[in-house]
Each structure stands twice: as C-alpha cells, then as structure tokens.
Amino acid sequence: MGDGTPPRRSARAEARVVQEATRRRVLIATAAALPLVIGGCKGVGALGTPPKPAADVAVTRDAMTLESTLIARYGAVLTAMPSLAGELSPLLAQHHDHLARLRARLIIPRTGAQPSASPSGTPSPRPAPVPGTRAGALAYLRDAENAAAASLLAHLDAAPPSLAQLLASISASEATHALVLGQGRHR
C-alpha cells in the first residue's frame, strides 16, 4: 500500500495486456497451424473431404427435434394458459436441459451441410392446436411426452453406448413428466 502502488499496478496491468495480446496471437497462430499438422499426418486428401456424419449424429439430431417439438408444445400451452406456469415450468426447464445435453454431443458445422432439412434445435414449425380446457391441455402434453418417450427408445440400438444411456434417461424423464401431468399423484 505504498505511494508507488498505483503506477506500478497500472504498469503491471499494461504488461498483462501486452502479454495477453501476445498469447492470443500465439493461440491464433497455433490454431491456424493445427489443420496443417493434422493434414500432414493424414495426407493431403484429408484436407479436402469432410468426414460423413456418423449414425449417432442422425440419432442425436432426431432426439433434438423431438425435444424442440415438446418445448414448442409447452410454449403453446403456456401462451394459451399462463396460469399453468407453476406446474409446467419445472418440466419445461428439464426439456431445455435435455436439449442442451443432446446438443453438447454435437459439434455442429456451420457450413450449410443440410440447408433444407429442418434445422435441429429450433422449435418445430407447426404444433397442433392446444385444447381449450385445463384438463385437455394437460392431456395434450401428456400424450406428447409419452410419444416422445417411446420415440427415443426406438433409436436405442443404433446409438453408441453413451448416447443410448442418454436416450434411455431422457425417455424415462419424459415418462415421469407424463405421470406428473396425469394426476399429480404424490405419495
């Protein structure tokens, strides 16, 4: 806490800025060199041909579409019946968790690989109309949860082990959502 502290600190801060900039430049240079290194290992052809997506990518994308559709349905119900927010918000939050966990498995290339197909991770364009009653709306979501739970298990055999586990877990979560939406039966 001496008199010379502020200038020294600012000098140090300046030095850090310079250092940081240098480090960033080094990182950029390293990143730029990386493809060359990898390319050098695999031959020149490796640079030109992008690898074709593995089967688990398709399974993951399908699951993401299912989650996005469910999220859209919850959104439609909440828009029509905001009074259900207390009951539905925890379930909706878990669907966002599902979607995030699935998306984390993908390193999505932004190179326009599938321009026309429905982009995964965005809400489905046409959710069915929401029934007008509270009971009807809950049944609408319950049916959607049950359908999604079954669809996720249909992909089970095509998935590598860790993805199969994630699908089974999400499917089970959705089965419990259907239970809660059904009657809210607690023990």
Partner: protein, 161 residues
C-alpha cells in the same frame, strides 16, 4: 464350473446384471425399513414397490444363472445413507433407492446386446416412475449423477441398532 460366458460382451453383461441385482437386494431391504414408517395409502404403495423389487430380483437372478453367472446373495442388512426415523425420511429413502436402481439399469443400456439395452431402459423407466411418485417431482436425467450405493458397512452414517 460355470460355463464360459457368451460371446459378445458376456462378461460385461454379467457384471452389469450383478450390479443391478445388488441394487435390487438393497431396495428390497430398504423398503422393509421405510415401510415400517408408513400407514394407509403410502404403506400400500411401499408394499407394492417392495414386491416389484422382489420380482426384479428374481428376474435378474434367473438371467444371471442362464448366463453362467453366480448371482450375488443378499446381505442380512445394508448400511443406509441417512437416518430413517419417520415418514418423511422414509420417503427420502425410497426415492434414493429408486434413483440408485435407475442408475444400475442405465448400466445395462450401455451393453451391446439389444435385448439387454431394452431391458435396462425399461428398468430405468420404472425406477424413475417410482422415484417421481415418492418425490412428487421429476428429474431431468434419471440414472445419471446418482451416488452409487455404498458397500455394506461403508456408509457415512448408519442408523441401524
């Protein structure tokens, strides 16, 4: 004198089935403890779930035997993760037992055999449903992020006297 395991991940399957059997044995024991603190509808639910775990235990025992495995025997008592003195802690125990059962069935889903994957997924589902019924709320990822069941005698706090 057990026959050699089936080709195609037989050892892994037996290990995963044994883990499931151990969790089911623990659940059968745990429901016995929890059930003593319930009355009425909750007691009926606990009995129903207890029977379900007994049935699952028998199924797993048969599956292990068919694969040449030697089913692990149930212990006389298991360490509980926390004190169970009343209905509230008994509910917590039931939910935790189901979380752990879900976790071991999720282990079966990682196997290569399609029938075991389906069996495992069904096990995760039924355990998650029972857990949600006890807890009154749902989990985003049943079977994941669950503390594994402690081996008998190694729990932090045991409440058996």
């Amino acid at each position: 004198m057990s026959p050699s395991p089936r080709p195609g991940g037989g050892q892994a399957a037996v290990r995963a089935l044994q883990a499931a059997l151990m969790a089911e044995n623990t659940a059968v024991y745990g429901y016995g403890v929890a059930g003593a603190h319930f009355a009425g509808a909750r007691r009926a639910a606990a009995v129903r779930d207890w029977v379900a775990h007994e049935n699952a235990r028998d199924t797993l025992t048969a599956m292990l035997t068919a694969r040449g495995g030697r089913p692990v025997a149930a212990a006389a008592a298991y360490a509980l993760p926390f004190g169970v003195h009343n209905a509230a802690t008994a509910v917590s125990l039931a939910a935790l037992l189901e979380d752990r059962v879900a976790a071991v069935y999720l282990g079966l889903v990682a196997l290569s055999e399609p029938s075991l994957r389906e069996f495992g997924a069904a096990g995760v589902r039924t355990a998650a449903l029972r857990a949600a019924a006890w807890r009154g709320s749902t989990l985003a990822f049943p079977g994941f992020d669950v503390a594994p069941p402690s081996a008998p005698g190694t729990a932090a706090r045991t409440t058996h006297s």
